[in-house]
C-alpha cells in the first residue's frame, strides 16, 4: 500500500494532516475576520488603536489555536468532552463568587494571565458533551424518556447559571445549541414540541413576574423587551439604541456612505459601535452590498459545516460539527436580528467581527474541533 493510498482511504498522519485541513473554511473565516478588522479600524476613526490591531493579533493567535486543535485526534477531544464540560461548569459557578463585574453582570473570571468568560467556553463544552453522550448512546434509545433526562440536565444547569449572572443572550444560545445537537441525534420531535410549549409558558411566567417580588429577570432586561415591542415609546432612553441602529443601517442605502464616512458611527450616535452594534457601522458604510456579502460569507461557512457534518460517518464528529454550526448560526443571526430590530437587544456579539478576545479565541478553538473532526473523519468503505 502506497502512501497515496493511505492518504486517500484512511486518516492522514503527520504533516500530511495539514493538507487535509478544510482550507476553504479557513479562507471564509479569514474573510469574515478581515471584515471585522476593516470595521474596527473605521470606528476608531481610522486607527489601529485601540481595537483593530489587538483584534488582528488575537485572530492570528486564534488561527494557530484552531490549526493546533485540528491536528489533535478527534478521539482525544471526545475523551476530553466530559472534562471540558465539568471545568466550564465549575468556572461558571466560580464567577458567581469571584467574577469581575463588567457592564453590570458577573461574567468574567480572572485566571491571572487572561480574563476568560466561562459562558463562552460553555457554549463549546456543552456541544462537545452532548455530542459525546449521543456518540456513546445506542441510537435506538435516544428518544426514551430516561435517556433524555441527562442531556436535558446538561443543558439546563449552565443555562440556569448564566441566567443568574444574568446573561439572557448566552442562555438562549446554550438552549438552542444544545437543542440542535439533540435534534441532530434524532431525539423525537415530540420532546421539542413539548419544550416549545413549556418555553412559551416560561416566557409568559417571566413577563407575569414583572414588578412582583419574585421577578425572574432584571429590570433592564424587561426594559429591553418592552422597547423592542415599541421602540418609539422612548426614543432617547432605552429605545435609543435600536432607533439609532436603524437610522445607521437605513441611511447606508445600496452602496453605503463610503468607508469611514458613516456619520452615525463617527459622531457616536451608535451605541457599542465596536462590539454588539458593529454590524450597523458596516451597513452604514458599505450599504446593502456590504451586508449581503457578509451574510453570504456566514451562510457559506454554515453550508460547509453542515455538508461536513452530513458526510462525516463518525457520530461524535458529525454531531459536534452540526452543533457548532448551529451555535455559530445563532450567533450571527441573533446579532443581526437584534440590531435590525427584529429581536430584543440581548447582548450577543457578531461572531469574528465584534471586538472581543475571549469570544473569538473560543470560537476559533471550536472551529479547530470542526477541523479535527474533518481531518480525522473515517474514510473509505469499511
Amino acid at each position: 500500500m502506497t502512501l497515496f493510498d493511505a492518504l486517500a482511504r484512511g486518516v492522514p498522519r503527520g504533516p500530511a494532516k495539514l493538507l487535509a485541513i478544510d482550507w476553504a473554511l479557513i479562507l471564509l473565516l479569514c474573510g469574515v475576520g478581515a471584515a471585522g478588522f476593516l470595521m474596527l479600524y473605521s470606528v476608531a476613526g481610522g486607527s489601529l488603536e485601540p481595537w483593530a490591531g489587538a483584534q488582528m493579533l488575537r485572530f492570528a493567535a486564534g488561527l494557530v489555536i484552531m490549526i493546533a486543535v485540528g491536528m489533535i485526534d478527534i478521539r482525544f477531544w471526545r475523551a476530553m468532552a466530559p472534562l471540558a464540560y465539568a471545568v466550564s461548569l465549575v468556572l461558571l459557578v466560580a464567577v458567581d463568587f469571584m467574577g469581575v463585574i463588567g457592564m453590570g453582570a458577573q461574567r468574567w473570571i480572572d485566571l491571572g494571565i487572561v480574563q476568560v468568560q466561562p459562558s463562552e467556553m460553555m457554549k463549546v463544552a456543552l456541544v462537545m458533551a452532548l455530542a459525546a453522550y449521543y456518540a456513546w448512546l445506542d441510537p435506538g434509545r435516544v428518544s426514551r424518556p430516561f435517556w433524555v433526562i441527562l442531556p436535558l440536565l446538561l443543558i439546563l444547569m449552565p443555562v440556569a447559571l448564566v441566567l443568574e449572572q444574568p446573561d439572557l443572550g448566552t442562555a438562549i444560545l446554550l438552549l438552542a445549541g444544545g437543542g440542535a445537537v439533540m435534534f441532530l441525534a434524532g431525539v423525537s420531535l415530540w420532546y421539542f414540541a413539548f419544550a416549545f410549549a413549556s418555553g412559551a409558558g416560561l416566557v409568559a411566567l417571566v413577563l407575569a413576574s414583572h414588578g412582583k417580588p419574585w421577578q425572574l429577570i432584571k429590570e433592564y432586561q424587561f426594559q429591553r423587551i418592552f422597547t423592542f415591542l415599541d421602540p418609539a415609546s422612548d426614543p432617547l432612553g432605552a429605545g435609543y439604541h435600536i432607533t439609532q441602529a436603524k437610522i445607521a443601517m437605513g441611511s447606508g442605502g445600496l452602496a453605503g456612505r463610503g468607508y469611514m464616512q458613516g456619520t452615525q458611527s463617527r459622531l457616536n450616535f451608535l451605541p457599542e459601535k465596536h462590539t454588539d452594534f458593529i454590524f450597523t457601522t458596516l451597513a452604514e458604510e458599505f450599504g446593502y452590498v456590504g451586508t449581503t456579502m457578509l451574510l453570504v460569507l456566514y451562510a457559506l461557512i454554515i453550508l460547509l459545516l453542515i455538508l461536513s457534518a452530513i458526510s462525516n460517518r463518525d457520530r461524535f464528529g458529525a454531531l459536534l460539527t452540526g452543533g457548532i454550526a448551529m451555535t455559530f448560526f445563532l450567533l450571527f443571526a441573533v446579532n443581526m436580528a437584534m440590531v435590525m430590530g427584529i429581536m430584543p437587544v440581548v447582548g450577543v456579539p457578531l461572531p469574528l467581527v465584534s471586538y472581543g478576545g475571549s469570544a473569538m479565541l473560543v470560537l476559533l478553538g471550536a472551529f479547530g474541533l470542526v477541523q479535527s473532526a474533518h481531518v480525522h473523519r473515517p474514510r473509505g468503505g469499511d
Binding site: I247, S251, N268, A283, Y288, L295, I306, F329, A337, M340
Partner: protein, 627 residues
C-alpha cells in the same frame, strides 16, 4: 430540515436588510442628517437709538466675559481660585457658574464673569498658562451713555424671561438663545421687532454628545434697524436736571411738526443696571422710592388737569355759543348748587369776570357756570378734539388714554346719573378727569397751532425719515381760538403766572397754571382756614401743573409740566416750565435778558447752584459692585 430553517432565517435577514437599506433608505438618510447637522443662530447686532442730532442714546458695546471649559480646566475650583486673584469673581457668580458647569457637558464653555474691561482680559490672557480651560470671550451688550436722562423713553433690555416667551404667539427662535437681550420697557420694548434684526445661521456638525465637530456653512443675519428719535438729548438732560429732587414730568413738543423734543420723568434711574442684572438693594431702592423713579410719568401717569383744563371749557363754551367773550359772570368766592357750596380758589371772589380774566385769574366760579351751561357731553367732545382722553400713538408701552368722561361714561362705570355737581368739577378739571403730561402737551400745541397735531417720537428708521403728516385744521372757529390764546397770554403776562413771564419780546410765553387736588377739603378744614400745602404730608399735597407755548405770536414749542404734590402751579411748576421752554428756544441756556429784570440775579444764583450736567437726580445706590 435544520438546513432549511437556517436558509429561511438567512433569507429573512437579507429581506429585512433590503427593507431597511433600500426601501426606507431615504427616510433614514434624512434622520441621519438631522442627527448630524445642527443649526445655531448668530445673534444680529441690535439697532442703535440716537436723538435727533445723532447723539447716541442706546448703543452696543463689546462685552468682555470669561468662560471656563470644564474638561480643559481639570480642577475647576483651583482654576477659579487662581482666576479670582486676577479678576473679581463675586461669590454668587462663582456658585452659579459651578452649578451650571455641573449640569452641562464637560466641553461647554460656561460664562463665569462678564462686563469686564479690556485690561482684565489682557491680564487674564497673560496668565493663560496657569489658567487652563479659561477662555476670554467677547459679545455685544447694550449700553446707554446718557441713561439717566432718557431711561423712561428709551427703556432698557434684559435677558429673555419665561413670561416674555409665554406672551408671544410665535416667538422668534433668537429668543431661545440663553441670555439673549430683548427690550423690556420704553422704545426698546415697543420697537423690539425693528431693533432686533434677523438671525444669521451657522450650520455645524455635532456628535451625539453635542460636541461641535466642524462648521458646515454660515449665513450672516440682518442687523436690527437704527432708530433716530425726535428727542433732543441736551434739552432732555436739562429738563431732568431742572426737575431733580422732585417727582415730576415734562413733555416738550415742536408745535410745527408734533415732534416730541423732550419727554422727561423725574427722578430717573440708570438703565445700565438692568443690563448688568440689577441687584436687589438697588431694585428695592427703586421700587420703594415714593417718587416712583421707574414710572414713565410722561405717558403712563395721569393726573386731574385742574385749571389747565379751563381752555377746553372756554373753547367748548364759545363753540356752543353758551357764552360770548364779553359776557360777565359774577364771582363771590363760591357758587351755590342746591345747598352745597362750590368754592373759588380766591376766598373773596373775583367780582364780575369775563373770558379773558377768567383765564388770567383762573376764576373757578366762571367755569362752574360754564360746566352748568355745557353739560358733560359737549365738554368731553371738545376735550377729545384737543387731544385729551385719547391714547396717542407712540412707540412706547402703556401710553395712557386718561379720562374725559361724558354722561354715558358715568352711567356705565358707576351706574349713576351725571349731576350738575359733576359738571362743576369737570369745569375746573377735577372730578373724574385725568390727563397725562403727553396729552396736555398735545392739547396746548393744538391750541397754539390750530391744527390737530399728532405727537411723533420716531424721526428716522434705518436712516429713512418718518413722514410728518400735514395735520388737518381743528374744527374750531379761529376767532375763538384767538380769544383763548389771548387769555393764555394774559395768564403769563398779567395773571397767575406773571412771575414766570418771559420779557424778551421775541420769546413771549402764553400759558396756564393748574393746581389739582388729590384730597377732598372738608367743610371743617375750610372753616378752620385753608390749610397750606407745606403743613401737609408730601403725598397729600396738591399737584402743581403748568402748560404753555412760546413765542406767543409764532408758536414754536409747547410744554406741559407737572410736579407731583408740588403745591401751587404758579409757584412750583411755572418757573421750571419757563426755564425748559427758554432752553428749547435758545438751544441752550438762555441769556439773562429773557428774564424779568428783578429776577435776573436770583436766576444767576440758581444757575450757579444747579447741579453739574452729569448730575441728573437719578436714583442710584452708591458703591455697588457690578461684576
Amino acid at each position: 430540515m435544520l438546513l432549511g430553517i437556517q436558509a429561511g432565517a438567512v433569507g429573512a435577514l437579507a429581506w429585512r436588510m433590503r427593507d431597511l437599506q433600500i426601501r426606507q433608505n431615504e427616510h433614514f438618510s434624512l434622520l441621519a442628517e438631522e442627527n448630524r447637522v445642527n443649526l445655531r443662530l448668530i445673534p444680529p447686532p441690535r439697532g442703535i437709538i440716537t436723538d435727533r442730532a445723532g447723539r447716541l442714546l442706546a448703543g452696543n458695546r463689546q462685552n468682555y466675559r470669561i468662560a471656563i471649559v470644564r474638561e480643559q480646566a481639570g480642577d475647576v475650583e483651583a482654576v477659579l481660585d487662581r482666576l479670582g486673584r486676577i479678576v473679581a469673581i463675586p461669590p454668587d457668580r462663582r456658585e452659579r457658574a459651578l452649578k451650571e458647569m455641573a449640569s452641562r457637558s464637560a466641553f461647554v464653555p460656561v460664562v463665569v464673569v462678564e462686563h469686564l474691561t479690556w485690561d482684565d482680559i489682557v491680564r487674564v490672557s497673560a496668565n493663560a498658562p496657569i489658567l487652563p480651560g479659561v477662555i476670554p470671550e467677547v459679545g455685544l451688550s447694550r449700553t446707554y451713555p446718557d441713561g439717566h436722562a432718557t431711561a423712561h423713553v428709551v427703556g432698557y433690555v434684559g435677558p429673555v424671561s419665561e413670561s416674555d416667551l409665554a406672551e408671544r404667539e410665535n416667538p422668534d427662535p433668537l429668543l431661545q438663545i440663553p441670555r439673549f437681550e430683548i427690550g423690556k420697557t420704553g422704545v426698546e420694548a415697543a420697537a423690539e421687532e425693528e431693533l432686533r434684526g434677523e438671525a444669521g445661521t451657522l450650520r455645524i456638525e455635532v456628535s451625539a454628545a453635542g460636541r461641535v465637530m466642524r462648521e458646515l456653512g454660515r449665513v450672516e443675519g440682518t442687523p436690527g434697524r437704527d432708530l433716530e428719535l425726535t428727542l433732543d438729548l441736551a434739552l432732555q438732560s436739562y429738563a431732568m436736571r431742572r426737575m431733580a429732587g422732585q417727582s415730576a414730568s415734562a413733555v416738550v413738543m415742536d408745535v410745527r411738526t408734533g415732534d416730541i423734543v423732550a419727554m422727561a420723568s423725574a427722578p430717573g434711574f440708570d438703565p445700565n443696571s438692568f443690563v448688568f442684572g440689577i441687584r436687589s438693594p438697588e431694585w428695592n431702592a427703586l421700587l420703594n422710592n415714593e417718587y416712583r423713579p421707574l414710572s414713565h410719568k410722561s405717558v403712563t401717569g395721569t393726573y386731574p388737569p385742574g385749571s389747565t383744563f379751563k381752555m377746553t371749557m372756554a373753547l367748548a363754551a364759545l363753540e356752543a355759543g353758551v357764552v360770548s367773550p364779553g359776557d360777565g359772570v359774577g364771582c363771590a368766592g363760591y357758587t351755590w348748587l342746591g345747598n352745597r357750596r362750590f368754592h373759588c380758589w380766591k376766598r373773596g371772589g373775583h367780582g364780575r369776570v369775563e373770558l379773558r380774566r377768567s383765564l388770567s385769574q383762573s376764576c373757578d366760579c366762571y367755569y362752574y357756570e360754564m360746566g352748568r351751561r355745557l353739560g358733560p357731553d359737549r365738554i368731553s367732545a371738545m376735550a377729545h378734539k384737543l387731544g385729551l382722553g385719547v391714547a396717542h400713538e407712540l412707540p412706547l408701552p402703556g401710553v395712557s388714554d386718561g379720562n374725559m368722561p361724558d354722561a354715558a361714561w358715568k352711567e356705565a362705570k358707576r351706574g349713576e346719573k351725571w349731576t350738575t355737581g359733576d359738571s362743576f368739577n369737570y369745569g375746573i378739571g377735577q372730578g373724574f378727569t385725568l390727563a397725562s403730561p403727553l396729552q396736555l402737551a398735545v392739547y396746548v400745541a393744538r391750541i397754539a397751532s390750530g391744527v390737530a397735531l399728532k405727537p411723533r417720537l420716531l424721526r428716522k428708521v434705518a436712516g429713512v425719515e418718518v413722514p410728518v403728516e400735514a395735520a388737518p385744521a381743528l374744527d374750531i372757529d379761529p376767532p375763538h381760538l384767538e380769544r383763548v390764546r389771548d387769555g393764555m397770554y394774559a395768564v403769563s403776562n398779567e395773571g397767575t403766572a406773571y412771575r414766570s413771564r418771559i420779557v424778551d419780546p421775541t420769546m413771549v410765553m402764553a400759558g396756564k397754571t393748574g393746581t389739582s387736588q388729590v384730597r377732598i377739603i372738608t367743610a371743617a378744614e375750610r372753616a378752620a382756614g385753608v390749610t397750606s400745602n407745606e403743613q401737609l404730608p408730601w403725598n397729600r399735597r396738591d399737584h402743581a401743573l403748568f402748560v404753555a407755548y412760546a413765542p406767543y405770536d409764532s408758536p414754536r414749542y409747547a410744554i406741559a409740566l407737572i410736579v407731583e404734590h408740588g403745591g401751587g402751579g404758579s409757584a412750583a411748576a411755572a418757573p421750571i416750565a419757563r426755564d425748559i421752554l427758554l432752553y428749547a428756544l435758545c438751544n441752550g441756556l438762555p441769556p439773562l435778558e429773557a428774564y424779568p429784570a428783578e429776577q435776573r440775579q436770583a436766576i444767576e444764583e440758581q444757575r450757579a447752584a444747579e447741579p453739574p450736567a452729569s448730575e441728573t437726580g437719578a436714583v442710584t445706590v452708591p458703591a455697588r459692585d457690578r461684576a
